[in-house]
Amino acid sequence: MAATSVTAKPASKSKTKSKATLLNALGYKSLLTFTILALACIAGFASRLFAVIRFESIIHEFDPWFNYRATAYMVQHNFYNFLNWFDDRAWYPLGRIVGGTVYPGLMITSGSIHYILHALNIPVHIRDICVFLAPVFSGLTALATYFLTKELWSSGAGLLAACFIAIVPGYISRSVAGSYDNEGIAIFALMFTYYLWVKSVKTGSVFWATLTALSYFYMVSAWGGYVFIINLIPLHVFVLLLMGRFSNRIYTAYTTFFILGLVLSMQIPFVGFQPVRTSEHMASLGVFALLNAVAILRYLQSKLSSSEIKYVFTIGVLIAGAAVFCVVVLLTYAGVIAPWSGRFYSLWDTGYAKIHIPIIASVSEHQPTTWFSFFFDLHILVITFPVGLWYTIKNINDERVFIVLYAVSAVYFAGVMVRLMLTLTPVVCVLSAVAFSRLLEFYLKEEESASKGGDSSDNDENDEKGLYDKAGKLKKMKHEQQKDSGADQGLGINVRSFVVVAVMMMLMMFAVHCTWVTSNAYSSPSIVLASYGQDGSRQIIDDFREAYYWLWQNTHDDSRIMSWWDYGYQIAGMGNRTTLVDNNTWNNSHIALVGKAMSSNESEAYKIMTNLDVDYVLVIFGGVIGYSGDDINKFLWMVRIAEGEHPKDIQESNYFSERGEFRVDSEASQTMLNCLMYKLSYYRFGDMKLDFRNPAGFDRTRNAVIGQRSIDLTYLEEAYTSEHWLVRIYRVKKPHEFNRPKIDKAERRFINKSFVSKKTAKKKKGSIKNRPVVIRGQRPSDQ
């Protein structure tokens, strides 16, 4: 689907174009544009549906489950209750104020869609809205990219960019159906804000700048990545100032945007006063001050003579810059402005997180990007992107400065963190579209003057070219063909068609690659696993939902489940039970406590668990089916995070074998073999013989026979294990179940010694019994 629509595009375009010269060109052109954009949206939507078609309409992975749960809560209660929602099912016993700790844009978006549909009596379940939200927004992103590229370059490049962004894997990775996450709508908001910004820089109108601020407001409500916008736009203005491109248009656009954007962004509860109090936002404020200073100087310039102005200008700029910088630094020291956050530091120093915040480092999407993943996510675009960049730099103007800055900064950030590949992808699409557009324009246009072929570029000026060619052609063929072809810029028709075909092939390969990556890498819901037998039959492994649903149905409503934080959102969403820690990793010490419980021995862990009122412990164990993302493989992170908070009790080195390896077999250290995680993962696994080739207790994930074959549990008992042993749930025994008998309330007897007060009316005052009698001694006689 994705492949055909993209590659078919140039052909259909050229066909229609040749007719366009005969009839109303404008009408055909807009019809064509409309058709291509519609196809791009449909292709983008359709290629994101692999997971729905292969599995079902289901929410994927981890964070989307929380977003879904929050949305369902908002739909069930109302918006204000949602903002005031105190979630007592998370972070037991602390709880979480959800309204103040989420970006509500996502929930509001799907909640409004749900509201509108239900107002029209269309009973679509909120889950389906959530599942299909990201694909729908990817269509809108394609439109926003089209408009942005059109403003920056040409509408032809815009169409290419829209087609690219619709199917590029770097964006699909975060927006497949079911991946109900902030990024799904945020990329649309990002591109749309940029489009409006470029538009307002071009026009200098308050109207467009206001729209930019509104779109920015939506972005702030949707994703923490809004910080990227509020730094990139000031950077753009700053660079324009440096380049001496100050104009009243930029002044109007930026000041309007900044003031409105600042006020609007502070309306989001989670953001609050951050825009005026944190370092991340200070750049925009500084640029605002600088821009005003420049504007004043410009004004003075018109009043003063040129020799004076040079002096005043230099001094003025220096003073303004220094003043802003000093104020920011002073305020930071005074504590009014918060310094950079840890996550932000890790953007500059990739080693920072590993040393200081293991919890950030433990998340796989915070790892640095490999070269492989650039190609995997962008394919041919990664090569054409610098070409487009070169073209824009060559033909620079005010708004192209913006895309250049965007490109350069996004490339850097994408290199630092895998996750930020997402912000790079749109700009890569835009610039690659510019490159391809130039290429096709050049080769197809020349081809046309030589042959009768159509014209694929969308620029107006070459629409009616060659009206009189037909007149001249006949003669040319007869007499001067040889002479002409010699003068034809050295590019023969063969070379041209070869290049065009090669480009088409590359685009086709791109489409194939995109579809393949989407289908194979990004379309797994990860809560339902599928394995394929030798005969191609599909077997579904649905252990996660099996166990979570067991929790929902067969445990007490306010049972507290302890698990590693990865599964917190899923337990809350699919199991509807209280968790201790979850994917909103706001409290490091609480996570460390859970990590400590998992890495301690059973009796130590029991103390922690009773302190935290834990009823059930849930672990993920992949040893039976060879699932590599299980808790034993994540275990070292638990140890590290626990060690960060409790360095006396937990030491990472204790968990390694003598040769310094992390093992589970008989060479593993005693600490490892006795820790809770090991016991819970391998309980009764030692008797399990999976196949005839391997002995009992053979762990398929780590390819080793486990070191401790007979594991006894004193303080816990197996409550449930899913069919493929993927999820194991243990019940924490109450104290009376293992060391002292429980006595029913009715049978409890309190030994109640009848107390008789010794106080009588006479001795009302307190008196000391057996009062010491002071015996007056005799003074030793002087000698």
């Binding site: 309409s57 009596n121 009973p123 009206l467 001249g472 099996e546 008797d687 294990t721």
Partner: protein, 595 residues
Amino acid sequence: MGLRLKIYLVCLFLTLTSFCNATSEDVLIKSAERTIDVTSQLVKITHRLTLSNTGKSSVNSFNFHIESRAQQKLSYFKAQLADGKDSSGVLKAVSSTVKGVLTYKVTLSSSLEPGQTVKVLVGTVFTHNLVPHPAEITQKEKQLVQYRGSAYIFSPYKIASQTTKVLLSSSSVESYTKVKPSSQSDSTITYGPYENIAPLTEVDIVIHFENNAPFLSVANLLRHIEVSHWGNIAVEETLDVYHGGAKLKGSFSRFEYQREHSGVSSIKSFKTVLPELAADVYYRDEIGNISTSNLRQEDDGDVSLELRPRFPLFGGWKTHYVVGYNLPSFSNLFNSGDEFVLQMDLISHIFDHMVIDDALVRIILPEGASNIEIETPYAVTRLPDTLHFTYLDVKGRPVVEIAAKNLVENHIQPFKLRYTFSRIVMLQEPLLCVFAFFLLFLTFIIYARLDFSITKDEACDNRQRAAGIAENIRNHYLKRSTLFQAFETHVVKLKSSRDINAFQASAKNITSDLRAQTLDLPANLKSEHPQLNDRVTEIQKQDKAYRDFQSTHAQLVERLVGGKINKPQFVDAEAILIKKRDELVEKLNHLINTL
């Protein structure tokens, strides 16, 4: 409904009080055979009674008592003539509680004259009447249950001879109360025969035996039947099921469950039989599709659905799921004119030997249905009607709600729902869509065609007008170019054919065509679009030059053909001309493209 029922009951009470005393002495049960079937979780008791009238007057009815301990658990009662066919011999029975004893008054089809006998079959089904003992077992243990009942039939009449057979699910019996003569052989315990037992005599018996049959019950059943007159009936059942047997004590071990096949009383899967024409079946719960189910078409035509809950159900465990399917409406919806009858089972099969504690059936009729009357096969509670809103509804669809308690498989019987529905109303929804889209397009048309800006953009208008004129001019010259080309073709042809007359005729044609073409330019072009005007003048000049070239060229060729000049001269002259022409073409092309 409620009022009618009350009146009915009052009448019944009156009749009962008048008959009861008179008949009890006159009727004698000559022989009674009772079968107690406890192989499943239900207690199914069948009585084969031979009644005889020993009195003087004829008897129309007889009473049947239910033991007080099992009264609450009675789910189903049915009396029929023993020799009659299944449906024809069913006797009318009315229940009432007399002195704390639940009594069914069964009216005989023909009155029993003195001295005559009649054979009657009475069947009763009790739910939750087998008590697990011990109440909690570990995973390895087998499930033992106790049945408590009476060795004698609890009857208001004297019974001359009676035997009781208890059918057990297995031969392993822990203990049973012995009332002589009683015996056990394999999985059957026989009590009796007992002779001449006085009315209302009870001897308690307890049978403690192994029963690993699935003790699966439905706590709540919510059944939606949504009727669409477009040819579909959608059925959706939401169920809360639980294992009502002995509770699981201690831990659940997956290892033992998989490798040692322990947990014999647990429920891994069960089979639901759906109607023959059921299609688009789904099986899911709050967190999505339950991937473990199989759909099979049975030999007898029914669709059987093998459902496996997400996890095996042990004693005390429960689960919740939704099963839904579509039925074509022709199988269940009948009409005559605008009068419709919906005939469907009130509840459907969920699993064998099922128990439904609470059921709520909601029948959603199409929007606009009126005069709704329902006829149910047994007494149920009809709740007040509500409205349901779904796709494109304006007034809402009427919903008939029916509640029932304590149901078993014998209750799978059809109801009849009559209502009036005018077919013309079916057009409402498509028309609504058509109208909505029409409005949408209309709004867009109006928006696109009209100018809503509050300021007038003179420059933009001007530009557009100029573009329109330019387009006009371009088209004009396009046509001219085709004619020019035709002329040149003729010139080339002339060179080879040397037929001057033919050439001149066609040349004349083309010239007249060219002359016929006129370019109307607006009169104010010069003042309003001076640039455009200049361009047009320039083009006209070039065009004229081109035309001149063509005539010169034609003359040259004519001269060549006429033999007035020789070949080399001609070639030289033509080369100069062609060069000139190419320049002209280029200039013209450029001019027109940049218009």
